[in-house]
Symmetry: C3
Subunit: 351 residues, 3 copies
């Protein structure tokens, strides 16, 4: 029961047929190249498929952390049979989840492993002069920047190098959670936590397509909520799998990556919609979100929500209970996007 | 003064002309088949036009109701001269309005009158294991499910059978209101209530079109706020008309379906945007929404809003005063959608 | 570092090339005419380019103001080298900013200088019967209307003549701020204020394009926060520049129109997304919005937001601090729209 079909073989065939028929039957000449398998990578990336380099995070003081990341070029299978030579952070797209505490100073180093194109980093979580602190790092160079995460929330990060749309859409995005000093009012009720990021895929590195066409895939990924090396950021459980922006990664089909919970547990999801273009209507099938914090700030509390509106780059914390054993999907309720992959599953059982 | 024109004869002509001209003049080959009159229904539905079967609702206990609905195939004129062989609930699209009380247990039976395709029901208002409680009901069979409406609000319901986008877009959607146990803070101020549902129409049963093209029609419908048979759900007025998702149903052109109020009355609208794909920017011309409850939960109160953002499947309660006699339109302020039909009217007079 | 490229010469060339290639390579026949330089104005406007007529605002009583505006036809360069024969208010698109006090009665006169087409005015800020108080004013005639601005906020205004989409998309939109009687809780913290309006441009006067195609340009404009003639509306600073809906007007490239602030100042922005079709995901790069008031109402307070969701016609007040000297861009984080121009800059320095 996969809620849609565009990335299955069957639907791809059907897509091509229908488009052709439309051209003749109705005078509509719009068609939609669903399966971008055979594209030509740009010349300097043609033979690159860089191994993921693990992110480094280290707490070096009560309010100070070091974070090191890479900008790199790595093939990711974004849907069954569909590879994309992503531009990304640390070999993942979305990039690795970062978790810091409200008030932390971040010493951030970006190693640009791309031999051809500058990259950079814009954290929505910090105050910074973009020109100098989110500055371009040249190919094969590194840059170090320092800024403070002064406000709690679930923030987007992304490459900010021009044209930004290409850099985000090619895979340079992720989430950074800033845990509030005084926690959330509902911390005591929460039994299990997940992190879910929504992103879109377009035609490989094609700015016109990214600007003017609907997305080809819309996907959810999940990221492990990791403890920092020295365990100074605590209060959350380790539950995690890491998936890249792949259509079926979080569906029941894939036992390795599907999310698990127990009946009656209160589940918290840290969510962010990294876009680059679309808004999200986040919904969990079979439940109601008892508590929602817009952009993940404890002050922005909503209750009893069926669906949460996320702007492009918007975040939220959503909390809900899955009462019965079963299989609960979450979607953006913009169902064109579900048909393009935007569905994940939480399997609820006693084991 | 109909705010748009796409579904009038004049505009349809103009649409076809302009599209053709565009192809030649600017190299743009996009065109838009506005008027899908002559489509071929799928084989098993070809000779079906099932009479609407009234929904059955009965309160059988202080916190328990029985609801029986049908999944069926019925022709609906979605715009003047444009028929659509809808998949729907009880012969209406959007389906019949359901109203229960917070905490009610619902014994729900779905009779699938479709001879060919399974259908199902997903209530956003309840906690349920989707796989078993929102399960497919086979053609010509019935299924019974039980779940609790534990949280107040204006919730979407819809068929959840794969591919869900096709089932929703073909007409299988509606709204269920769960009245809060302790009411709303503004209950005493409200003089008149309406229920308005927004939905889109695409090319008949064409998943590619639903996934990748803008909607052809965007429409508002209204549903009667009915008392339950035994009158145990009370506190709201009967004011109603029932319209299906038809472009002009709620405009001043149609005296039978236009909404009426008196000068100075405080009007409450229960609204839901069932999509399937688009968000809504709900606005009432000539007034300001004094009180807004996001997703219809009393806890989520906003004030003095010009426009309310509804995600796909999102609901709200909006309250406003129409001070003078006159004619007040409501729209989604995404005006491309107004030009495709998303406009309704409240006529305010003393009679 | 312009964040996008669609309106530069380079990108326009690239656009045409890519579109052509797509047609052959993938069977996709969609193309996008980026550069609408050579269009044919409608016959009655062909030789018109009316000089902007300044808006007149005069306070005539403690709670009463006179406002006079024009509907007129004026060429505006909406992007470098791209002229648009706009339909507009007072020669600007967006039109002039209006500022009144909560409770003010407005005596409003519209002079329609258009020799061919009726125009009108719908203020979201007031209670009014649309048919009589937002009524059409015939070519070369004037109309006077009276209504009260009873609720504080950042409201859209626009022409309401049928088809409304054409009138808004051709340039007939703007913002009216209604200052709250009792101010905002954060008034004392604010050092500097700006007004920013987002709008889209489509193919000149082409309703089909406006209804079915993505926007060609998405732009931010700023408007001077002017004192009324007799200075009775006070409490805000004069800081202003007036720009029309031009792609590069608010970027660093243009020293005359870029916005300036000092390090550490708390900046307030009054924002409105006049559409006509798209929602906005408003974000300021390099900071976090400490305080947000949805639709500009003091009651609708959010904190610590990275991005604010604006429906079509939605407004907000957003407040943030730019700590370091530097150059801070603001965008809608729907990055397809950034690539089409939706970016502005605040230069922060000590001078
Ligand atoms: Cu990059
Ligand atoms: Cu950003
Ligand atoms: Cu169905
Ligand atoms: Cu649903
Ligand atoms: Cu006009
Ligand atoms: Cu309006
Ligand atoms: Na798009
Ligand atoms: Na649900
Ligand atoms: Na669409
Ligand atoms: Na209004
Ligand atoms: Na559009
Ligand atoms: Na930021
Ligand atoms: Zn398909
Ligand atoms: Zn290193
Ligand atoms: Zn709560
Ligand atoms: Zn037309
Ligand atoms: Zn029965
Ligand atoms: Zn109130
Ligand atoms: Zn380009
Ligand atoms: Zn005059
Ligand atoms: Zn505050």
């Amino acid at each position: 029961d996969d809620l849609g079909n565009v990335n299955s073989d069957e639907s791809t065939d059907s897509a091509e047929t229908v488009a052709a028929e439309e051209t003749e039957a109705s005078g509509s000449s719009y068609s939609y190249d669903v399966n971008p398998v055979d594209y030509e990578p740009i010349e300097p990336h043609k033979d690159l498929d860089q191994e993921p380099v693990p992110v480094k995070m280290e707490r070096i003081g009560e309010n100070e952390v070091n974070i090191e990341m890479t900008a790199q070029i790595t093939d990711i299978e974004i849907a069954p049979g569909i590879e994309y030579k992503t531009w990304n952070f640390n070999g993942e797209a979305p990039g690795p989840l970062l978790v810091v505490q409200e008030g932390d100073w971040i010493n951030f180093t970006l190693h640009n492993m791309d031999p051809a194109i500058p990259h950079s980093m814009d954290f929505h979580a910090v105050h910074a002069d973009p020109a100098t602190q989110f500055a371009d790092v040249k190919p094969d160079e590194s840059g170090t920047f320092r800024f403070q995460a002064g406000s709690p929330g679930v923030f987007m990060y992304h490459c900010a190098t021009d044209p930004v749309l290409s850099h985000i859409a090619n895979g340079m995005h992720g989430a950074i959670i800033v845990m509030p000093k005084d926690g959330f009012p509902t911390d005591d009720e929460v039994d299990r936590e997940f992190v879910v990021v929504q992103n879109e895929w377009y035609k490989y590195n094609d700015l016109e397509n990214m600007m003017n066409m609907p997305p080809r895939q819309v996907v959810f990924s999940t990221k492990t909520l990791e403890y920092m090396a020295d365990d100074e950021v605590d209060g959350y459980t380790f539950d995690g799998v890491n998936t890249n922006g792949t259509v079926t990664a979080l569906t029941e089909n894939d036992a390795d990556t599907v999310l698990y919970a127990k009946p009656g547990e209160k589940v918290r999801m840290y969510i962010n919609n990294v876009g680059p273009n679309e808004v999200s209507s986040f919904h969990v099938i079979g439940t109601i979100m008892e508590d929602v914090y817009l952009d993940g700030n404890p002050a922005n509390h909503l209750e009893g929500m069926q669906t949460v509106m996320l702007p492009a780059s918007g975040g939220a914390i959503v909390e809900f209970t899955l009462k019965e054993e079963g299989s609960y999907s979450f979607v953006t309720h913009q169902f064109d996007h579900v048909s393009k992959g935007a569905v994940g599953t939480i399997v609820v059982n006693e084991s």
